[in-house]
Chain length 341, copies 4
Amino acid sequence: MISFESDYTTGAHPEILRKLTETNMEMMSGYGSDRYCISAREKIRAACGSQEADVQFLTGGTQTNALVISMMLKDYEGVIAAQTGHINVHEAGAIENTGHKVMTLPQHNGRIDPEELETYVRDYYQDETYEHMVFPGMVYISHPTEYGTLYRRAELEKLSEICSRYNMKLYMDGARLGYGLASLQTDVTLQDITRLCDVFYIGGTKVGALCGEAVVFTRNNTPDHFLNLIKRRGALLAKGRLLGVQFDTLFTDDLYFKISRHAVDKAEELKQIFRDKGYEFFLESPTNQQFVIIGNNKMEKLKEKVAFGFWEKYDGEHTVVRFATSWSTTDQDMEYLRSVL
Amino acid sequence: MISFESDYTTGAHPEILRKLTETNMEMMSGYGSDRYCISAREKIRAACGSQEADVQFLTGGTQTNALVISMMLKDYEGVIAAQTGHINVHEAGAIENTGHKVMTLPQHNGRIDPEELETYVRDYYQDETYEHMVFPGMVYISHPTEYGTLYRRAELEKLSEICSRYNMKLYMDGARLGYGLASLQTDVTLQDITRLCDVFYIGGTKVGALCGEAVVFTRNNTPDHFLNLIKRRGALLAKGRLLGVQFDTLFTDDLYFKISRHAVDKAEELKQIFRDKGYEFFLESPTNQQFVIIGNNKMEKLKEKVAFGFWEKYDGEHTVVRFATSWSTTDQDMEYLRSVL
Amino acid sequence: MISFESDYTTGAHPEILRKLTETNMEMMSGYGSDRYCISAREKIRAACGSQEADVQFLTGGTQTNALVISMMLKDYEGVIAAQTGHINVHEAGAIENTGHKVMTLPQHNGRIDPEELETYVRDYYQDETYEHMVFPGMVYISHPTEYGTLYRRAELEKLSEICSRYNMKLYMDGARLGYGLASLQTDVTLQDITRLCDVFYIGGTKVGALCGEAVVFTRNNTPDHFLNLIKRRGALLAKGRLLGVQFDTLFTDDLYFKISRHAVDKAEELKQIFRDKGYEFFLESPTNQQFVIIGNNKMEKLKEKVAFGFWEKYDGEHTVVRFATSWSTTDQDMEYLRSVL
Amino acid sequence: MISFESDYTTGAHPEILRKLTETNMEMMSGYGSDRYCISAREKIRAACGSQEADVQFLTGGTQTNALVISMMLKDYEGVIAAQTGHINVHEAGAIENTGHKVMTLPQHNGRIDPEELETYVRDYYQDETYEHMVFPGMVYISHPTEYGTLYRRAELEKLSEICSRYNMKLYMDGARLGYGLASLQTDVTLQDITRLCDVFYIGGTKVGALCGEAVVFTRNNTPDHFLNLIKRRGALLAKGRLLGVQFDTLFTDDLYFKISRHAVDKAEELKQIFRDKGYEFFLESPTNQQFVIIGNNKMEKLKEKVAFGFWEKYDGEHTVVRFATSWSTTDQDMEYLRSVL
């Protein structure tokens, strides 16, 4: 069955497997010190356009969020996120498991509003009892958000400025960063993100890798003894090459961006197919995740022919469902989808 | 340069890469629910010879130790290990990071002595202040140990009986389990381990996989909501197929055992080479890790030609070094080693 | 200066100090095993009207909340609280520090609405991704709430029934429980609470003790090795008598209830004084905390003469302030307040 | 029955109770900001002879150890202690519960040997795999030790110098510090300790208070937002006056030192009584805890007449028992003891 359920239903981009196979018999040192990790770090730093950008590799998104957030926060601090932020909803309490609170702000199509952020933090410090409360130490944003939406550069600049003024870190969850960068409607570049965030990650798992996320500490601010800290949290791979080779491949010849652009192009085609068939969208998403409103009866029939994700109830008779494209989405997938809608 | 530094200097067994490539375009559900994870579980259960054996996949050894130990212990319990146990020395405090104490017993070539274990636990419960101390809730053993040595079946039976009597879990760290099972000098089978331990893991990373460990809960005693618990600890892979395909391959046509036997055979050859050259061993290891006593001057010259691991000082003029073989050790490696010793 | 800032601005009820002095030279065993702890447990159990009620003593409210909640939750569970719940706002993230998430529901004058609770939990289990989210394992309510309000017995019965049906614990934070039981407008008794909650605590610190809270596990459900668990968390007093003597005194001759009634009576007088002077209340509180709306200019002048608590902005020109009575509030305090309003 | 079981079998020194009663009706602000906390801090700072000494109050010894150690360590660090250190044996794993490892050195009558410490740390940094191990970030010593013994000033200076050189904190557990300072055989003063340690605590619970320990951060190095940090760990008392009044009393007119000297004097008398009766000591203790070797039969008879502590087996026919004196030990207690030995 054809699946649009997510962007991680197939394996890795073939070029990654080819490179893993090609380098397989090379003897390399472990724990992220091999030549491919080193090369990948240099290529990513170049793509970020900053010599102050440290690059570290981890295995998955929740692991990355929990590690980065807990490393960057002081003991008395928590992290602010949108109500719909992945860390607040779908990570099984991984942040709280590190001892830190997630404080929530309203979501606007998945985004935080800079004004509401500023009000929250200003009110916090004006409260006479603030020493008994959790200090806001970081702002977590996802880009694209859980709804596939994007921040404008001006919004990121405003968030960055507020964070700087109130001594908070700005952290971007880029599980699907490629699709954000490749969007036809964005004005945000990887260099912008590097300039505006204290730390962010470039998602691999959902953008063509078997596994792996590249964390960028943008101000040479990798926590001391990072290797020890991730070992202590069970996140250090003995064969670090698995991550090094993958990211080295993704950042050679712009593969990461080409993969992402392909998925975005397919998403635009998919949108048109739904529009042609008279469907409405729950919101306007400029990336690879599309949220469609569908009648419940139609939904039941459709799911016998194609796989997709259930998102939330729309009203008594309709549901919001998610269709995701990826590097591996084909023209045939599109034609098939059109034929079954 | 030829390396005997560890058993994880090359990539994966070629058959694993072949299978990853072959299945790459299959659409599969995520988080360990795909057909290869299911198949691998069944094959491992069959190899363990028990329908009560639950099989779960994790990414690395320290992650596995920290997760399994913290899930199986009650809040007031700690884990007993040999002084040289990996969890006590080389995991950056990953167990303590989960809130639990590692209590140590003397090591005997890496092993715990059952008599000493029994004395420790009996004394604990006879102490009038035991409610103020950490309860012994689990015994951790590695097999092979950090020195490459093995427990005899009779020792495991004694340890298991003591654990059962004092209400402790018996947990085996099998990071290199294959090399233990394939040893020419062992009387311990995978079925024995399944019968005697409450939980153990079958190491993949150091036995031919890119990454991955298969945890066996031997009495249908997987902790409730295991998926949630590992997600919360950042250990759940979105593309669970990465582990499923690898273990399915390792447990097809006895590949895991063939790989392990190959490494053990090469280790026997390596031992003979060192003996022929007049070297002495720090201890007698029946598996793929060999600990050789070498003069410091000789060591300095040798390490320009071949890579190996430094273990500990022997005396002012000699050092104990480690040579490890693996699935990828070749006849040429052996000849080269002989030529440079 | 006269202070209505809180119910913990004076020391202990004189009878408590008298009893501490009287018993001072008695030699007693430590850690809560002394005769006064034993006697206090029996008296509290009798007051609760249940032989299944286990009683344990701790030092303060946040300590109690963090310990009880973390002991009663499974690793994959979090606790549900009102947005204004003390654990969500004013405990510096003490619950999250134990690794557990606080999930919030809207507050209605400090209370949770049973219907909204049921909807939340039902939706949780209907969500296809619930295994990736934090399980609701407990419902936290404060009684009186942070706004001095109370639940009706019928509401507690409904909450208890929902908890039971969805396998959640019901926990009541009784930091000011005495004032709730002594309210003129309540239909909830200590026996009701014992019957309906899985665990609750009877606050001492804010009801006349120097320190101390009595936790009641209502179904003989004290966690195993409780002493070890609280020692491990730094909450075990060597001189447990400090808590035993205090609670034994509070539960002799109904002192706890007399103290509480006195404060409630004074609060009723205080309400009348404010009403006589033309003030309006932010909400109707039937216990010892009163929330008054006051003009900002008036507030500035008043605080030079009497101490009170600032709660929240009402509008641009008014503020909500808190006046609290206690066991030590006197007629003179009342007269003085009337004279300065 | 007369008890020498510990130094916390009676209540508080009467002067403390008198002062608590005298100040009981004073209205004071909470959470450690009251006038008695402020006064006590100043008196202790003066006694320490350093304007750089910050003083903070906590409730008990295990709480203090866990809080101070976890606040002062970085995430990748653990604490070094003697094998017999209280944190390693009798605190139910409270340190590990904060996520940090306790690394042990051999004990010499309860003490750490500076040479062995230096060897440990030097070897650590020479190990090629040290990034995979727990960094030594602090040295924990108890003074008096768990065996009542004391460090010499020269030893403390050596320990301090090693800590400084290897970037470790030196922390002294002073649960019974008064008895150490009042010993007839010590050359260590409170000023020495202030000069040589990064942080230490002056025990109250075991030296005449109902509860309470005064932590001294000797280099104005109180962790940022200390109040928030201890609130988050459930260690902040609403009625902070309980600790303030007690320590203010203990440090007025040298009461702390007088109490301690009294107990030491009684311990010297007690020693003489045992010697007169022909007993031998397990070791020479210059403080208020005495460890006597006693025949098992004699022990059984004696414990019907007087309470004492069981320490450890000496040989098949003898046991080591502990007799402790305190501020409340009387001449009559001495005479009685002589009569029953």
